[in-house]
Amino acid sequence: MAKYILKRVLMAVITLFVVICLTFFLMNAVPGSPWLSERSPSQATIDALNAKYGLDKPVIVQLGMYLNDLLHLDFRDSIKMQKDRPVLDIIANMFPISAKIGVISILWAILVGVPLGCLAAYRRGTWVDSLLRVISTVGISMPGFVVATLLLHTLTGGLPGVNLFPATFVASDWRSYVLPCLSLGFYPMCYLSRQTRTAMLDSISQEYIKTARAKGLKNGKIIFKHALRNALIPVITYLGPQIAFTLCGGFVVETVFTIPGLGRYFVQSITNRDYPLIMGTTIFLAAFIIIMNLVVDLLYKLVDPRINLSKGGD
């Protein structure tokens, strides 16, 4: 086990290093510069700025300097979006809102999606199953921004007389969270319910369920105590990366509802060519996803002892 963890951590570090290098080169390969605007500064000013932030050096040298700073845990300061503010400060300031919305979204997705999946499996072939299948198919095929835009348009004052939720985000008002969380959690909810249904049907057909039935156990007990536990394995596999993605990657929802979260800021940092901020957020998000994957793999082993991690586990 210890050997396996060590191996996985090492892999994680290498993955992160590759992500850093790739992002750095790609970011520099894209045309544009942080100093440009409709009204560009003089060439002397641009030169001075490039020199100040080391952008006048070859990309490989810049990367070397950046990696060196990272080793000293220096993520540098923003050069455009919030001039001179440490990137870590910005992330620490903006991630909590993204995380809050992500947590609520994923929680309701699980709490609703898993039972619905069980229900569909339990009532297989009935109208309930068909209805749930229609809903989940719609949810999976409809892009997040469509759901978000639809909700924004209809429920925040876009339709005359229908003004149930605020159109402007106020961090201290719970009503501000309803629509973003609904939009962000809709896809995982639908996906989870389908996933659960399939896994559940698989479990129900197993021998030990037949045994349970033969013993005369109640249906509810069979489904929730015996079948669900095994059905949850594929769900957990999906949940790990999805939690990471929902927590950090809600940029579509954040953009539509103008939420001051990290996702929206990440996208803005790219259009603004704020290099340190692009790198900082990318590293943060990548590390988060890598860690979540690692945690899930370990959790997997605990839930299902049949999985052998040391042989081909990775």
């Binding site: 544009g32 002397a44 000013t45 995380a99 947590v103 159109a167 201290s172 539509v256 959790l299 605990l302």
Partner: protein, 579 residues
Amino acid sequence: MNKRKALSLLLAGTMVAGLLAGCGNGAQNSNETPGAQNSPAAGGETTANGTTANEITVNFASEPESLDPARNTTVDGSIMINHLFEGLMTWEDSGEETAGSNGTCNNAKLVPGQAESYDVTTNEDGTVTYTFHLRDGIKWSDGKDVTAQDFVFSWQRLVSPDTASDYSNMLSGVVNAIAITNGEMDPSELGVAAPDEKTFEVTLVNDLPYFLEICAFPSCMPVREDVVSDTQWTYSPETFVSNGAYKLDIRKTNDQISMVPNENYYGVEELGPDRITFKLMDNDNAILNGFKSGDLDFIQSMPVDEVAGLIASGDLNIVNYIGVYYVCFNTEKAPFDDPLVREAFTLAIDRNYMVREITQAGEMPAGGFVPSGVYDAAGTEGEDFRTVGGNYYSISEEDYEANCERARELLAEAGYPNGEGFPVVEYLYNTNDGHKKIAEALQNMWKTVLGVEVTLNNQEWNAFLQVRKDGDYAICRNGWIADYNDPMSFLDMWLTGGGNNDAQYSNENFDNLIAQARTETDAAKRMELLHQAEDQIIGTDHALCPIYFYTQKYLLADDIQGMYYTPLGYFFFDKCTRG
């Protein structure tokens, strides 16, 4: 088995706890700045949405780049800085209604700000010295006195290459400023001085008719040396010290910037709102819904499709805005190195169609480059520069056919009768619905009128800027907004090798005319030189193809009065009242 179960529960528990901890931090962080969103200001009457009757919530854009006057580059940032700081000169309500505002807004006029008066003297060497006498009792928001030395420091800082300000050129008329920005001289050699605490002297290479307006420009507003020595000073209300009517109270990244009256401001008694909140949003649908539901009191962005309906309902106000939307030809590369081709392309455009069918917000078809509303020699009193200079081609609907006829003749003269033999050229614009519609209309007009094939290409904003700056295009979209009300703001950018000379335009006569205008002291003669410069670049060379002059559109809550505005795009809310 039990051990494993316990361990898995523990792990799962840790995960959930970790997530919830993140959640908890969120709540904590969102309240880290003093004065929570919903805390009503003293004496205010609470309305349905939790704000008080004396509070105003407005939207211009998302997070501004900087609230440091010297480092700000955007109009929305400038509007915030105008409320937080005050320059030697400032703007106040003139009492005269702004045309097109339906009574919701007045014009701003330039008046003394931190300086109560000034003298102008011409020196023996031809330089001109402005001596500003600072007001008594002017203070920073932390109670310390504002001194002439603060202005000396701030202006030196603005031109210093270390600051690398985009707007250092606002002071290019001050003695030694250009050499300092280019790193050839020390900032201490700038032509400014503080002989005593209350006297600030500025020496200009020669007098500038718009210099007092520059003294009210956000970049030239004062900051204090000990405050800005902390590089993080603008990010927290505790470290943000300003000298204007309002002081920073809440700053939440990409969420809101909120300000309350500065009790140390000399005019604090006359201020209107107890709180002005700039909500930082950039989604047009959310912004419009926010206005409709009463969360926002002022907005200027809305979905393009909604504009016509809002005009029809009489809700949308449209006021003058000194700016021009134009097409830039790459004058260095064939086929647009030929003025005949450029003129043909210019004449083939139906500008009335553009403003009537596409932009639809009361824009004016442009018959020249310098927009309507820019002062001529008589300043506020007489006719504007555009009226005096007249149009370079007819913009009336009736003459469009004649323009097209002339365009075809010119193209034939250039060697491409009916567009034959004309290469396929590309029109470049930045990805945006509005620009796309204009590009498609242009493509169609050039095809129908001239028989030439124009392809369209759009690029992401920053990449587009780079390509345009490098001159790596044939024709592209462009736009320009005035920094100060003077034709020079639209003309000196076209000097050979200028930083914003995207057309790669170069003409000796034009360069000479601008150089002469810069040193000319007689206002009428100076304007004449600027008219000649525009005649050269537009009338003779057709280097640029103006499409329309901008307007500023906005929605304002019905119960708000007392807003005022300058056509440079600055709205002022400091004297607003509700009810």
